[in-house]
């Protein structure tokens, strides 16, 4: 048996209810992780106060379920799961994200590059247009680059945007520890962009891969939009004067 010498990987899937969606997400993740050949991997589902706890069911490929009885911020979910596996790199996966079979392997290959601390991925809507191709900053704050556009118009080589979404994000462990994880003051949303900004301040690069896009339905958790408004206000207070707009609002 060959033992991997690379840092093991913890895939964290925060989720609340929506059992069918989570099942499909985990099936896609299990396939994607089978194609990660050089790391040991473990999947941790964070049950963010589901009305019917996930503990009751069998989940494909899941090594650990972390249960919150009361609803928590995305940051709290990620931080608590990461604490349980202190020597693992991280792969964050939203429950409404279906990972491309080769998507995780490609992201981790980018994470291995010198100076890269965070890696995102091109994400598509179900209609095939782009949901995320990196993040830029417009006059109203962060926005997804090339949102709604056809992916075929853009190159497949990796780019280095200012930030990437946490919906599907690989993080080098050293970066996560240096930054003390995600900032729990954000109710839900933009903590991922805040995290990328803080990483770049410390000299780490943020990369986005494009060759094997994954599917992202976006904001399917009930109440998500309302919490995003509060998060955006906090983000603007912290970063608006530090990160000037660099792209037009249509990305």
């Amino acid at each position: 048996m060959v033992t991997s010498t690379k840092t093991p990987l913890l895939a964290i899937v925060p989720s609340r209810d929506l059992h069918g969606l989570l099942r499909a997400c985990l099936d896609s993740l299990a396939t994607a992780l089978q194609n990660v050949e050089d790391r040991d991997t473990v999947v941790c589902v964070v049950d963010n106060a589901s009305e019917r706890p996930y503990e009751a069911d069998h989940w494909n490929g899941v090594g650990r379920i972390v249960r919150f009885d009361h609803h928590q911020s995305f940051s709290e979910c990620v931080n608590r799961a990461a604490q349980l596996f202190p020597s693992h790199d991280l792969l964050l996966v939203n429950n409404d994200c279906f990972v491309s079979p080769l998507g995780a392997a490609q992201m981790l290959a980018a994470l291995d590059m010198d100076g890269v601390g965070i890696v995102g991925s091109r994400l598509l809507f179900p209609d095939g247009t782009m949901q995320h191709d990196g993040v830029g900053v417009g006059s109203n704050g962060p926005l997804h680059l090339r949102r709604g556009q056809q992916p075929g118009l853009y190159p497949l080589s990796s780019t280095y945007p200012i930030a990437v979404t946490g919906a599907l994000m690989a993080i080098r462990r050293q970066v996560f520890d240096d930054l003390n994880g995600f900032d729990t003051y954000y109710p839900f949303g933009l903590e991922d962009i805040d995290f990328c900004h803080r990483a770049r301040q410390k000299g780490w690069h943020v990369a986005c891969t494009h060759k094997y896009p994954s599917l992202h339905l976006e904001a399917t958790t009930p109440g998500r939009i309302e919490m995003d408004i509060e998060s955006r206000a906090l983000y603007m207070e912290r970063w608006a004067h530090k990160i000037p707009p660099s792209v037009r609002n249509n990305g």
Binding site: P53, A56, H58, R67, F68, D69, H70, Q72, R80
Partner: protein, 304 residues
Amino acid sequence: MTAITALIHTHNSEKSISRLLESISWADEIIVVDMESTDSTTKIVLDRDAILHSTPLQPWNDGLRNSFLGLPTSPWTLVMDSDEYLAVDAEQSIRQLIAHAPPDVIAYALPRYNYVLETLFDGEVSYPDHQIRLFRTGSVTYSAQHHNPPKPTDGGIVANLDPAEAPHIHHCQDVSLTDYIRRQTNYAATDTYGENVPLSAFQEEAIRRMLNAKERTSDSEKAMLIVLAWDAIIRGLISWEKNGRTESLPSDYGWAVGFVVESPADTTRTPDRTLKSWASPALRIIAKVTRQLSRILSRSNETE
């Protein structure tokens, strides 16, 4: 900050004890009372720096607890079973509870999720399944029976926590159906029984559970409730014997369970003259069971 002691009883609990200890690692003191484990339970406990006590294995967990309720040195005690755990945000909720506990509240009953045979067992008998587990140290006493709630030693209020707001106990019974039946039978055989409880009370409980089973869509839930229905019948027989067989055993005792399963609405059976030989006594039993069912249903309607 008011301190809490976690008090746990174990017996061959190596599969589940690590998760429990991790979930209560924030407790100010953890005391484990082990009952002759032959697996790695005690090693796991000592590795976690918990305080380990040993005691002979006894059939009644709950009665045994009384002997160790004086060990905690904290003002509050949290009792957990070895196959349970708390959510990762339980510490905050529990510390808030005890910090704001009114002086006359001596204990809190926490809601409990029960997971059995890879399913959430959420029938009316199993959720919210309040458990009196968090109490002022020394304020409650357990009975010798299995799974009977403790009672206030010197009075005081036991507060049932609202499941929508409260921290939950998560109870994972990682057993096969065969093991579950074996355990239930053992509980029934070693439990203590009240005096002069009529057999009809056990029969009615069995019918109630079997009706509950019929409404379930999950095979696991159905199986569990069928076991519990027969458990009620078996307990009735044990109670009948222990109380000196003061009433004669009805000829139809236990039949009710079978007839609830074979609901006429679920069959397409046509009349068959060959059944005539047994049809008459069977119909009498069905009529009796129907009367019992009617009584149960009318009581249920009254309470709604």
